[in-house]
C-alpha cells in the first residue's frame, strides 16, 4: 500500500503528460483524484498509525539498500499535508491557469512532485530519502520554470536548482557518513543509534553536511535567497511547494533525524542559531517588500526559521511545538498564497503600490485573507496563535549560557512584532489604504470554485485555533511521538492558559508590531522604500560570474584547441599514473607459476612470422604516415596480423570479428580519404616529433613491461564459472558467445546501443551535408565501376547472406554470433555499394536507422521477456526443437537476443559506411538517387 501511495502519483503523472493540452478538465480531474486517492490510502492507514504502529513495506533494491517505505506518525502527518493540500491546490490551479498555459505539463509536474515529496517523507532508509529529495528539487525546478518564456522564471528556477540541488549533494555526502557510522542506512537503525553517532569522530562533518541539505531546502539564512526568486512560479506552485510542502523537507529532516543527530551543543548552536537569524531576518525584510508574493516568501522564510529554531532548542517540548507549527504554517500560508493568487488573477497585479482598497471589490476574499493573516501574525482564535505561544514558552525555557537565555526570547518577541507588522501591511495595504492605482483590470471576486480551497484552509485554521485538542490533538500527538522517537512530554493544547509571560509577550508583540507598521507607513511611506542593498540574488550572481571567470582562466592555461597537445597531456598523465605505483613497489617478485600448458605452448614459427609482420606493418604505417593511402594499407596489414594472433591465442570469435572489422574500417577510411588530402605536409617543428616519440616510447615500453609482468603471474579468474555453466545454464557450447548474449547480456545491450548511437551521430553529422563548391570537381568524375566487381558483388550477396544466417544460428555453439554475422552481411552489402556506385534505392537510407532501433528493441524486449516471467532481466531460456529438413536447432531465447545484435550491427555498419558514401556520389548521382 505504501508503494502504491508513492508510485501512484508518478504513474498518473506519466498518463497526464500524454494527454492533450486541450483536456483541461480531464488533466485536473486526474490530478485531483490522485491526491484524493492518496488521502483515502492515508485514511486506510490511519487506525494503525494512531494506534502507534509503524507500517512498513519493502522490496530489495540494490547493494543491501531497500526500496522500502515506513509510515509512522510523523511521516503520516507530512503525507497528509502533501495529499490534502495537493488536492486543494489542484482545484485552485484548475481555475488559476490561463487558457494558453499547457495544463498537461503543469499537472504532470505537480503530480511528479507529489510522488517525490511522499517518497521523501515515507522513505525507510536514508539513501532512498536522498533520491526522492533530489527529485523534489528537480520537479521544483521544472515548476518554477513553468512559464519558460519568462526570463525571471528561468533564472529563478536555475537558482533554486543550484541552491537546493547543491544542498542535496551535501545531504548525500552526509547520509553516506551517517550510514558509515551506523553501518546501515535503515532509518530504524539510524534512529536507534543516536548516542553512537554523537560519540563518533565523524559526527561533526556528518551533521554539518546533513544540515546544509536541510538549510538550503528550507531556505534558511544565508541560503534563503532562492525562495523569493522562486516566486516567479505560478501561484499554485508557490502555495504548494514553496510554503506548504517542499520547503518543509528541510525541517522534516530535522524532525526526522533529531533522535539520531540532535542532543548536542553543536546541534543547539548551529540549528538554533541559524533558525534565530532566519526568523528575525525574514520577518524584518518581509515588511519592506512591494510584491505581494515577495512578502509571503520572506514571511515563509521567517516561519521556517522559527521551526528550525524550535528543533534547535533541542527539548522534547520544542519538537512538539515545531511539528505543530509545521501543520499550522502549511494551512495558513497556503491559503494566503492562494488569496494572493486570486488578487493577482483578478487585478492583474501583485504590486502593493498598485493594490489598495480592494475590500469593496472582493469582500469575501478579503475576509478570508484577513483570518489567515491573523494566523500568520499569531492572534488568538486562529491556529498560529497556539504554536506561537508554545514557541514563546520554549524560548523562555532555554537553558544555556546567560546571554543566550536573554537573546532568544528577546529576538523571538521582536521577530513576532515584525511578523505582526508585515501581516498588518498585507491586510491594510491591499484591502484598504486608499484606492487601486493603475490596475489593468477591474477587480472582482474570483470564480466560486477557486475560492473553495482558501475557504477550506481558513476553516481549518479557525477550527484548530478554537478547538485545538479536539481537531489536531491526536494527529499532533502521534506526529510528535514519532519525531521524538520516545515518550511524549506533558503539554496542553488549549486556547487559554491563564495570564502568563508568553501571553504578555504576545500582547506586546501585537501592539508593537501594529504600531511599528503605522509608524513606518507615516514616517517613510513604505511604497517608496527601495530594494534592500544586500540582496542574496546579487551575491549568488556574483559567485556564478566568478566561477565562470575562474573556469575560463583555467581553460586558458590548458592547451585548448589543440587535439595533439591535449592528447599528449592525457597520455603523459596516464603513463605517470601507471608508473607511480610501479615505481613505489616495483613489479613485485616475478614468481612464475606457470598455468597448465605453459606460456610457451602453441606458438612456434608461425607466431614469430605473425609477430614480425605485424610489427613491421605498424612501424611502416608510422614511418610512412604522410603518404596516407600507404599508411592505411599498412594499418590494415597490422590488423590482419592481429586477427591471426587471435587465432593463435585460441580466440576464433575474436579473429573473425577483427578480420571483418578490419575490412569495413579500411573501406570506411578509404571513403573518407577521398575527401581529405592524400598526403600530409612535412612537420615544421622537429622537436615535437621527438617529444611525441618520447611519450609514445614510454607508453609502449610501459605497456610491454606490464603485460610481461602480468603474464608471469598465475591467474585466479572468475572465468571457470562461465565455462562450467555455459552449457547447463546458457544452453550453448561456445562460451564466448554465451557470455556475450546471456551472462553479460546487459553489457552487450549497452554496447549495441552505443554502436547504434555512434552510427546515428555519423549519419547526423554527414546527412544532408553538401560538399562546398570549392571542393567540387569542375566536371563530374566518371564512375569507376568495373563490370567484374559488379558481377562478383551481386553473386556474393546471397551467398554472404546465407553465411551470415548460418553464423548467426550456430553462434551459440560454434564461432559466430550476431556481431560476426552482422559484419559479414554488411561487408557484402558494402561491396555492392562500392561496385555499383549509388545503385541502391534511396529507401535503404531509412532502413538502416530502423534496423538499429529494431535490433536494440528486439534485444531489450528479449531481456524484458525473462523479467516478465519472473526471472532476472536477460535470463535466457533454451530448448532444442527439431525442425523439418533443417534438423535439430539449438533455440535459446538468447538467439533472439543475438538477432537483435545482428540487426543493430548491420544497420549501424551500413549507416556509417553509406554516410560518407553519399558525399562521394557525384552531385548528379545524388540528385538521381533522391529523385528515384
Amino acid at each position: 500500500m505504501l508503494h502504491a501511495l508513492v508510485l501512484l502519483p508518478f504513474a498518473i503523472a506519466a498518463a497526464v503528460a500524454l494527454l492533450p493540452n486541450t483536456a483541461r478538465n480531464a488533466t485536473a480531474w486526474l490530478a485531483g483524484l490522485t491526491a484524493l486517492a492518496g488521502c483515502a490510502l492515508l485514511g486506510v492507514a490511519a487506525p494503525a498509525v494512531f494506534a502507534g504502529d509503524v507500517l512498513r513495506a519493502s522490496v530489495p533494491w540494490f547493494a543491501g539498500v531497500a526500496f522500502g517505505f515506513r509510515m509512522d506518525g510523523l511521516a503520516f502527518t507530512f503525507a497528509l499535508i502533501v495529499c490534502a493540500i495537493g488536492a486543494l491546490v489542484v482545484l485552485y490551479a484548475r481555475y488559476y491557469l490561463a487558457a494558453e498555459d499547457p495544463p498537461a505539463r503543469f499537472f504532470a509536474y505537480l503530480l511528479a512532485f507529489m510522488g517525490a515529496m511522499l517518497g521523501v517523507v515515507l522513505a525507510d532508509n536514508l539513501v532512498l530519502l536522498a533520491v526522492f529529495w533530489e527529485l523534489t528539487s528537480i520537479t521544483s525546478f521544472l515548476l518554477i520554470g513553468f512559464w519558460r518564456y519568462r526570463a525571471d522564471a528561468r533564472a529563478g528556477a536555475r537558482m533554486a536548482l543550484a541552491v537546493t540541488g547543491g544542498g542535496g549533494l551535501c545531504l548525500v555526502a552526509g547520509v553516506l557518513l551517517v550510514g558509515h557510522i551506523v553501518g546501515s542506512y535503515d532509518l530504524d537503525r539510524v534512529l536507534a543509534a543516536g548516542p553512537a553517532i554523537r560519540a563518533h569522530s565523524l559526527y561533526a562533518p556528518a551533521l554539518v553536511l546533513v544540515l546544509l541539505g536541510a538549510f538550503t531546502k528550507s531556505a534558511q539564512w544565508p541560503f534563503h535567497f532562492w525562495l523569493p526568486n522562486a516566486m516567479a512560479a505560478p501561484t499554485p506552485v508557490s502555495a504548494y511547494l514553496h510554503s506548504a510542502t517542499m520547503v518543509k523537507c528541510g525541517v522534516f529532516l530535522l524532525a526526522r533525524l533529531w533522535p539520531a543527530l540532535g542532543g548536542s551543543d553543536l546541534w543547539f548552536y548551529v540549528v538554533g542559531g541559524t533558525g534565530l537569524v532566519t526568523l528575525a531576518f525574514g520577518a524584518y525584510v518581509a515588511i519592506f517588500q512591494q510584491d505581494l508574493k515577495g512578502l509571503l516568501a520572506y514571511s515563509t522564510i521567517s516561519h521556517l526559521g522559527l521551526i528550525t529554531l524550535l528543533f534547535g532548542l533541542d527539548t522534547p517540548l520544542a519538537v512538539v511545538a515545531g511539528v505543530f507549527h509545521v501543520l499550522n504554517h502549511a494551512a495558513f500560508k497556503a491559503s494566503l498564497f492562494m488569496a494572493a493568487g486570486i488578487v493577482d488573477h483578478e487585478t492583474g497585479s501583485r504590486d502593493m503600490r498598485q493594490l489598495n482598497g480592494l475590500w469593496s471589490a472582493m469582500p469575501i476574499t478579503a475576509t478570508l485573507a484577513m483570518v489567515a493573516s491573523g494566523a500568520m501574525a499569531g492572534v488568538p482564535l486562529v491556529n498560529g496563535f497556539l504554536s506561537k505561544e508554545m514557541f514563546f514558552t520554549e524560548a523562555l525555557a532555554v537553558d544555556a549560557h546567560r546571554a543566550v537565555e536573554i537573546v532568544v526570547p528577546v529576538v523571538a518577541m521582536v521577530a513576532a512584532a515584525f511578523g505582526v507588522a508585515y501581516s498588518v501591511r498585507f491586510v491594510h495595504d491591499v484591502f484598504f489604504n486608499g484606492q487601486p492605482v493603475g490596475l489593468s483590470r477591474t477587480p472582482h471576486e474570483p470564480p466560486r470554485w477557486m475560492r473553495i480551497p482558501v475557504e477550506v484552509l481558513v476553516v481549518v485554521c479557525l477550527a484548530v485555533g478554537i478547538f485545538p485538542a479536539v481537531t489536531v490533538g491526536p494527529l499532533l500527538a502521534v506526529a510528535a511521538a514519532s519525531a521524538l522517537h520516545g515518550p511524549l512530554p506533558e503539554y496542553s493544547l488549549a486556547l487559554w492558559h491563564g495570564v502568563n509571560l508568553p501571553l504578555a509577550m504576545s500582547v506586546i508583540a501585537t501592539v508593537a508590531g501594529t504600531g511599528f507598521y503605522f509608524l513606518l507607513q507615516k514616517a517613510l511611506d513604505l511604497h517608496t522604500v527601495p530594494r534592500l542593498p544586500l540582496d542574496g540574488k546579487r551575491v549568488f550572481d556574483a559567485i556564478m560570474a566568478g566561477a565562470q571567470a575562474l573556469a575560463e582562466r583555467v581553460v586558458r592555461m590548458l592547451p585548448h584547441g589543440s587535439l595533439p597537445r591535449s592528447m599528449a597531456w592525457i597520455v603523459a598523465v596516464a603513463i605517470a599514473a601507471a608508473a607511480w605505483p610501479i615505481a613505489e613497489t616495483g613489479f613485485g617478485g616475478a614468481s612464475v607459476a606457470q598455468t597448465p600448458g605453459g606460456p610457451d605452448a602453441g606458438v612456434g614459427l608461425i607466431g614469430w612470422i605473425i609477430w614480425s609482420l605485424g610489427i613491421a606493418a605498424a612501424l611502416a604505417a608510422t614511418l610512412r604516415y604522410r603518404q596516407r593511402l600507404t599508411a592505411l594499407v599498412f594499418v590494415g596489414a597490422a590488423g590482419l596480423m592481429v586477427s591471426l594472433a587471435f587465432v593463435l591465442l585460441a580466440a576464433p570469435d575474436l579473429a573473425l570479428t577483427q578480420l571483418l572489422v578490419e575490412v569495413v574500417t579500411v573501406v570506411l577510411m578509404m571513403l573518407v580519404l577521398h575527401f581529405l588530402p592524400q598526403t600530409a605536409p612535412p612537420e615544421l617543428q622537429g622537436w615535437r616529433k621527438i617529444c611525441d616519440a618520447g611519450i609514445a616510447l614510454a607508453a609502449g615500453v610501459g605497456i610491454a613491461l606490464i603485460v610481461q609482468a602480468v603474464l608471469a603471474r598465475p591467474a585466479d579468474p572468475i572465468s571457470p564459472y562461465y565455462l562450467e555453466h555455459a552449457l547447463p545454464a546458457g544452453g550453448g557450447t561456445n562460451v564466448v558467445n554465451v557470455v556475450i548474449v546471456d551472462f553479460r547480456g546487459f553489457d552487450t545491450l549497452g554496447e549495441i546501443a552505443v554502436l547504434g548511437i555512434a552510427a546515428l551521430i555519423v549519419h547526423a553529422l554527414l546527412a544532408g551535408f553538401r560538399v562546398p563548391a570549392s571542393f567540387r570537381p569542375d566536371t563530374p568524375v566518371p564512375g569507376w565501376n568495373p563490370l567484374l566487381v559488379k558481377v562478383v558483388a551481386r553473386t556474393l550477396l546471397p551467398l554472404a547472406a546465407m553465411v551470415a544466417v548460418y553464423l548467426l544460428l550456430r553462434g551459440h555453439n560454434l564461432p559466430g554470433g550476431g556481431f560476426i554475422a552482422g559484419l559479414v552481411l554488411a561487408s557484402a552489402m558494402i561491396l555492392i555499394r562500392v561496385a555499383g556506385g549509388s545503385a541502391l534505392p534511396p529507401a535503404t537510407r531509412f532502413v538502416h536507422p530502423v534496423a538499429i532501433g529494431a535490433g536494440v528493441l528486439v534485444a531489450g524486449v528479449t531481456g524484458l521477456g525473462s523479467a516478465a516471467l519472473g526471472y532476472p532481466f536477460l535470463t535466457s531460456a533454451f530448448g532444442h526443437p527439431v525442425l523439418p529438413v533443417v534438423g535439430e536447432v539449438p533455440l535459446a531465447s538468447a538467439a533472439l537476443f543475438d538477432l537483435g545484435v545482428f540487426l543493430t550491427v548491420v544497420g549501424a555498419t551500413m549507416l556509417t559506411l553509406l554516410s560518407p558514401g553519399v558525399l562521394a556520389a557525384a552531385p548528379a548521382a545524388v540528385a538521381r538517387t533522391e529523385g528515384a
Binding site: 584547441g561 588530402p677 609502449g700 610491454a704 564466448v736 555453439n813 556509417t912
Partner: protein, 133 residues
C-alpha cells in the same frame, strides 16, 4: 618466450598508435586510434593468460576448466570492444571529414600563441581525392 612476443607486440602497437595519435592532422588520429585499439584488445585477451591454446567451445568429455580451454571472459569483453572501437573510429572519421570542409583545413592543432586563428594552406600540391580546389 610467448609472453615476451605478446608483450613486445602490444608495446610496439601502443607506441606507434600513440605517436600517430599525437599528429596534428585529422586523418592520422583515427589511424593511430586503430593501432591503439589493436593493442588494447590484445592486452585484454592477454590478461586471460595464454592457456592451453584450445578455443573455449565446450566439448563432451572434456572437463570445463581453464586447464583445458582458453579463458572465454576476456575474449567476450574484447569482442564487443573491437566493434565499439570501430564505431568510435567511424565517429572520428566523420568528424575529420566535416572539419575539413567547415575549417577549410585538416589541422586539429591550434597555433601556440593563441593570437591568430589557424592559418593553414591546404596541402594540395597534387591530387586531392578526385577533387581539385
Amino acid at each position: 618466450m610467448t609472453a615476451w612476443l605478446i608483450a613486445s607486440g602490444i608495446g610496439v602497437l601502443t607506441a606507434t598508435g600513440t605517436w600517430l595519435l599525437l599528429r596534428a592532422r585529422t586523418f592520422d588520429v583515427p589511424l593511430g586510434l586503430t593501432l591503439l585499439s589493436y593493442a588494447v584488445n590484445l592486452f585484454i585477451v592477454a590478461m586471460g593468460r595464454v592457456g592451453p591454446g584450445v578455443p573455449a567451445i565446450v566439448r563432451a568429455g572434456v572437463p570445463p576448466s581453464l586447464a583445458h580451454y582458453a579463458d572465454p571472459l576476456p575474449q567476450a569483453l574484447a569482442l564487443t570492444a573491437i566493434v565499439i572501437s570501430f564505431a568510435m573510429t567511424a565517429l572520428l572519421l566523420a568528424l575529420a571529414l566535416k572539419a575539413r570542409f567547415v575549417n577549410d583545413s585538416d589541422l586539429c592543432d591550434a597555433p601556440v600563441d593563441d593570437a591568430s586563428p589557424a592559418q593553414d594552406v591546404d596541402p594540395a600540391p597534387g591530387r586531392v581525392g578526385s577533387f581539385a580546389r
